[in-house]
Symmetry: C2
Subunit: 97 residues, 2 copies
DNA sequence: GTTAAATATGAAAGGACGTTCATATATGTC
DNA sequence: GACATATATGAACGTCCTTTCATATTTAAC
């Protein structure tokens, strides 16, 4: 793995890491890591304001880290794929030794 | 993994991801992922200015992602541990499908 | 159609961050 | 000591981002 990936790949890597590197967004990702959850459930579990959670979910959605499903007035979100969990795990392992 | 880690752990995760989520720093990490390299070698391989590379190495060092060894006027840097490579790999896999 | 609940959006403030430029420090050589 | 090379540091500028506040949109119930 001695070769530096080309700029296009590095750009995408930077974006993904950037999206993941936020306190609130990390909480949201963990909160929906086992099951899909509605926004109000996420708000309760994460303990942040409605507006903040909504804004950050939008960031996660735009980066394709989460997918959504609408049901009445509620919107359910879940992780887009298993890579996210792997990423969280690797980082978790690193910081907890 | 349904439970959200406590704030102390999340803070550390946020920091690690933050440090990793930069174009120049990613390049530096890749550049020393196989062997230790001197700053001047890193500068050549990464293609950034001396000042920028030095500043960003400092960030990596402060976050304990790299370790250094001095030899005369030169300073050699290498990755601090294998978790970093794992992190890069997971992210790389994700963005290249 | 009004009201209430759930979610999304826009603007604005404040701080953090990447980069450049200039300069400093350290080490080796003559 | 003077000089050259390698690396580090500090200040400054512009830009991006997180968060809050206020408001809009959507859907269901009555």
């Amino acid at each position: 793995m001695s070769i530096i990936p080309d700029n296009k790949v590095l750009d995408k890597m930077e974006s993904l890491l950037n999206v993941a590197s936020d306190f609130t967004r990390l909480k949201i990702l963990y909160s929906i890591s086992d099951t899909e959850k509605s926004v109000s459930d996420i708000i309760k579990e994460v303990g942040a304001s409605q507006s903040l959670v909504s804004h950050q979910i939008k960031v996660l959605k735009k980066a394709n880290l989460v997918t959504s499903r609408k049901e009445g007035t509620r919107v359910f979100y879940k992780l887009a794929d298993e890579h996210i969990v792997q990423l969280l795990n690797v980082v978790y392992e690193h910081v907890t030794e």
